[in-house]
Amino acid sequence: MGPLATGYLGLVLMGGMFLAIGLFASSLTENQIVAAVVTFGILLMLWVLGWTAEFAGGPLGTVLTHLSILEHNDTFAKGVLDTKDVIYYLDFTALALFLTLRSLEARRWAG
């Protein structure tokens, strides 16, 4: 039961983060295709950060590993609930929503 619950929780948090990033990309442009490609690019970058961490090593490798989506999702999938993974998803979701808000506000005064 535990791994199932954490797996679903991880999926919900990751999905929320993906949606928030997609919303931000969508707020940058009026073209849906461009928004989709930008979202895909951002998520792909976050996805492959974990691979580059192995080459970087040291503190930079630690930071890159922490920024990778895969690392955090693995923990949920294993049935382990870690606060740092929850905070990671919530942080990025909040950041993407904040940037979306700023982007929409900028449309008003930027013309």
Binding site: D82, Y88, E105
Partner: protein, 230 residues
């Protein structure tokens, strides 16, 4: 003024051409390596000059209100990024973990933790995990085990205990450990001794990659300990 701006605008294409020449120069004229930096500097200067008309035009089209709002937004974004960075760093350092699996299969048992603490209290150190072959990326298991121990206040040092394998010598797998602390290099005889008693350490050993974690609680210095200034 307008003619000058037009000429500056045209500087973009020569700039790109000069930068392209800088890119191909190491392949076409490798013996003229001293040309590379001048080509890069001139190319960048030309491109920068070509941007001057664009900047002037943008400044005239932007109003004071737009610039002020834009600056405010930029400051807010930077502040939020900083806050999120701090929160991430804190959550990474001070995290709580709940293993919801059956029998807590992804956590160390309390007996293991007690045993490891006891080993650490005795000032002993030992290899917990096997070495991995050179070039192989560290697995997640050892890293997570070390993190779990550190969360339980067990002092874990991660160090490579693989001595340099000299050809023709039967070198044991365990040898001297190399620690870096405050600009000092410390060589301590740890889990084992190398055959022949030679105390070599490969430069760069002791970094965080390619290592087998060991336990260490600072204890009384032993006769085998010796230090070198870096």
């Amino acid at each position: 003024m307008g003619g000058l701006m037009r000429r500056l605008d045209l500087a973009f294409y020569p700039g790109i051409a000069v930068l392209a020449a800088a890119v191909v120069q190491p392949f076409v004229l490798p013996q003229q390596s001293r040309l590379w930096w001048p080509l890069v500097v001139v190319g960048l200067a030309l491109v920068a000059l070509s941007l001057v008309p664009w900047v002037v035009g943008a400044r005239s089209s932007l109003g004071a209100r737009t610039v002020r709002y834009g600056f405010n937004t930029l400051v807010m974004v930077v502040l939020v990024l900083g806050i999120i960075g701090v929160v991430e760093a804190l959550s990474y350092r001070h995290n709580a973990r709940m293993d919801l699996t059956e029998n807590r299969r992804h956590s160390l048992s309390s007996q293991t933790i007690q045993l490891l603490k006891a080993i650490a209290d005795q000032g002993e150190r030992g290899r917990l995990l096997p070495e991995r072959p050179a070039g192989q990326a560290p697995g997640r298991g050892p890293v997570q085990a070390v993190r779990a121990l550190r969360r339980r206040q067990v002092h874990v040092e991660v160090g490579r205990s693989r001595p340099r394998a000299h050809a023709g010598q039967g070198v044991r797998r365990r040898g001297l450990r190399h620690h870096r602390a405050g600009g000092q290099r410390t060589y301590r005889e740890g889990a084992g001794r190398r055959a022949g008693g030679e105390a070599h350490q490969r430069p760069g050993e002791g970094d965080s990659r390619g290592q087998a974690p060991g336990l260490h609680r600072p204890g009384p210095r032993r006769a085998g300990d010796h230090q070198h200034r870096a």
